[in-house]
Symmetry: C2
Subunit: 258 residues, 2 copies
Amino acid sequence: MKKLSSLYDRSRIPLYIQVASVMRQRIETGHWVEGDKISTLEELEAEFGVARVTIRQAIELLRDEGLVDAQQGRGTFVSGKPKHNRWLNLANDFETMISLVKDNVLERVHIEENVVLPDLDESEGTAAAEYTFLRSVQYNDGEPFSVVNLHLAQDLFSRDRQRFTHSAALPSIVEMKDLKIVHAHQTLTIGVADPETADLLKIGLGEPTADCRLVLVDDGGVAIYVANIHYHKDCFALRVDLLKKSPVANASRGLETA
Amino acid sequence: MKKLSSLYDRSRIPLYIQVASVMRQRIETGHWVEGDKISTLEELEAEFGVARVTIRQAIELLRDEGLVDAQQGRGTFVSGKPKHNRWLNLANDFETMISLVKDNVLERVHIEENVVLPDLDESEGTAAAEYTFLRSVQYNDGEPFSVVNLHLAQDLFSRDRQRFTHSAALPSIVEMKDLKIVHAHQTLTIGVADPETADLLKIGLGEPTADCRLVLVDDGGVAIYVANIHYHKDCFALRVDLLKKSPVANASRGLETA
DNA sequence: CTCAATTTGTTCGTATGTATG
DNA sequence: ACATACATACGAACAAATTGA
């Protein structure tokens, strides 16, 4: 039998899904424009190095999503763009971050007091004795776009249980005048959704997410705020202005990037 | 439990791969520590709500990766962490970026002169009449970690063909004293690998990548440098210092470089 | 209008992969 | 380990719709 394509060997994800992903991206990025006739099955067959039926399966997927319209004898045409909600969620400075977070609609799904920090940090301060673990889901237009797993120093949480329980923690923290944040940083990576995250974000298990680790350290060198945030990959974009030293002026939500 | 069965509906990725992803993540995050005996097949079976054989298939995958060691009659033990090479490739300011790029080992895989910019930009300057398209792969330790698709204004390229052909473009550009960059920004999203990118990065078709669009605009408002960079998801991390050097004193928001 | 070329749609047979019990 | 069911992928052939010479 013919070997499966070499690309397929590298990831065991079904071929037709891989192909569909690529075609979907081409539509999204405008490489294939709406109304255009895309390559014929034979061309695609050759380009991707897969069987005709496999291409058809991929097109079938896109058709179900309303992205293409295949007409016998004529060709396959792009019939729409995937609605992508790219919100600029992340900020490059503390001020912007606070202002963004303040308006977030969130739902606390889990709270557990008096826990220890599970994964000790490397060089981002020392751990407090006890933390409160808070998991929340952030919504935009009723759709979940991120899951926040926050370890908040227990003594901080105890100071205003009510507020920390029902609203975003960050604004509450900055309002504590006696508290000095001497260090704050974000590290962004790409991860995969575990069962809980997948469930909360309504995505598939193992699908990619933008993972952001946000740590605040006080003047005692203690990591008082350790958050692991998983963003839905389609609801995430980060814009960095490379020349301006001042905060980016993009405080508005719902801003399109493409 | 059929909790996972419903998750499975959302992503047609084979179940045992999804399960393996989760287990891999547990090892990576330290939820399962090296040397530990992980849950028995029966427990996992119950937790994930899948058949015993499916769990075994997942464990088989992890065993091939050297992450676990299954011993008949004893149990399955964590035998190692996935080695991930997380290099901090991206920068938040222009100077840092240049210094990072300068040392990059890259291989030009494709050059095409006198092309037009394919996807016109939204609000990031006007397009030049003609561009040179350069595709290169960046290596670290012999492993490819990013693919750069660059559209460079044709007149710039013509000024030093030799150099642009064989080394990174960014340093060459900043050295042109008569050229004024008035705007530079990066936008980061999560995308999927198309056939060429997958081939060059040695990953599977449709696997997630960190996509970075980098645009430089000169004092004429022309986008002279438009790059779409695809980073291997495991070779990518972006660290943002939220307090450092950023004027937290919100008053100082002047200093326009235009 | 017919013919031929093009292009999508359908079906068959076969092999292998996935998942259950 | 086995039996079963269904999904995935291939190649090839054929059917049906469209287009234009």
